[in-house]
């Protein structure tokens, strides 16, 4: 099909209706092209730039935590036998990093990943966010963290590669905590029961130390949440050195 646009040939100093129409169409076209470029730039921002910024922010928080741990002496429990329980840490202030997360199965993303108090977007851009109302590492109850699965350095990008039985290590100033993943579930974003002290049993008193990982699902559309649950299997003091799974990884 051919579209014939009537064009009236006119002199240079005599702008005619046809010229105006053509100019208007040109401007509309330029606006559309500009909008297209804008959307492409948004993609570049999301897919690339947020990762660059978050990688840098994560590194900053990582060294903040390390500096803090080394500058103030840890509360060392009385030189006990091997297997002494690490001293509990104080509840961190909002936005403050207080632990490192290690998951050997997905160690290219989750290895010495800072865990920061709170789950705001600012926090999640720097590492994993700890649901402030939930237990701290090693405590009886549910230590629940969230992290991005896409954009912002995407720490939980490979959450679907984890398997039941996989180890998750948490390092605090005073101790190392080893958790073993049990099962996953895909839930609605409003299913807050998943981070309860005993998930799914709102009124029962917790007796074990659990861990919960939450992230978005599907990866690029986040209308659901991917949940992993696990339970703690060991807690050791820093003086005893990192668990075997950390040393074996050699990172």
């Amino acid at each position: 099909m051919t579209v014939v646009i009537p064009v009236k040939v006119t002199g240079p100093n005599q702008p005619a209706r046809g010229d105006r129409t053509r100019r208007a169409i040109g401007v509309v076209g330029e606006i559309f092209i500009s909008l297209g470029v804008l959307l492409l730039l948004l993609c570049v921002y999301q897919l690339w730039w947020t990762n660059v910024e978050s990688a840098r922010a994560t590194e900053v928080v990582r060294s903040q935590i390390s500096n803090e741990w080394s500058s103030t002496p840890a509360v060392v429990p009385a030189a006990g036998p091997k297997g002494a329980k690490p001293a509990p840490i104080a509840r961190p202030a909002s936005g403050k990093g207080f632990a490192f997360l290690y998951i050997p199965r997905i160690d290219d993303k989750v290895w010495r990943l800072p865990v920061i108090q709170g789950t705001t977007l600012d926090v999640l851009a720097e590492g994993a966010g700890h649901y402030a109302s939930t237990a701290l590492p090693g405590q009886i109850g549910n230590f629940a963290v969230a992290a991005h699965r896409a954009t912002h350095n995407e720490p939980f990008r490979d959450i679907d590669a984890l398997k039941p039985g996989d180890k998750v290590y948490v390092e605090t100033k005073t101790g190392w905590y080893t958790y073993v993943l049990d099962r996953y579930k895909i839930v609605k974003p409003t299913d807050t029961w998943v981070i309860d002290p005993v998930p799914g049993k709102p009124n029962s008193t917790p007796t074990t130390a659990l861990i919960t990982l939450t992230t978005c699902n599907p990866r690029w559309a986040s209308y659901e949440r991917w949940i992993w649950w696990g339970h703690m299997t060991s807690a050791t003091v820093k003086a005893d050195g990192p668990p075997d799974g950390i040393k074996a990884n050699g990172n």
Partner: protein, 117 residues
């Protein structure tokens, strides 16, 4: 539009090219530093937390508070579970099928740890 801008730029063409590049860069910087970060929270593919209003920790609500619409909604949440995996032996440890037999589940929780100051 762009032709009009080009004509309005002063100077000879090398300067016009320079001015165009500089202003385009400034525009991109403005987008990346100000506009996109401001727009981002409203985009639908970045939410990873349970209950998007978790900037403040959910206070321990009194149990058995007058049932808001949330209670029947969350009680009916078990059928929306789409997929499940893992060892079934730990089901009783961590609560099975979303506690459908436990009565309404939802934001009515008991938090063991003290709230942050």
């Amino acid at each position: 539009m762009y032709a009009w801008i080009w004509q309005k730029l002063p100077g000879a063409w090398p300067f016009k090219v320079l001015a165009s590049v500089v202003s385009a860069t400034a525009l991109v910087a403005l987008l990346f530093i100000v506009v996109f970060p401001a727009v981002e929270p409203n985009l639908p593919f970045n939410n990873v937390t349970i209950d998007e209003t978790t900037t403040t920790p959910p206070a321990p609500a009194p149990t058995g508070s007058p049932s808001k619409p949330a209670s029947p909604g969350t009680a009916a949440s078990s059928p929306t579970v789409i997929q499940e995996g893992g060892a079934p032996t730990v089901g009783d440890l961590i609560g099975g099928q979303g506690g459908s037999s436990e009565g309404p589940v939802g934001p009515v929780t008991i938090t063991p740890a003290p709230l942050p100051s």
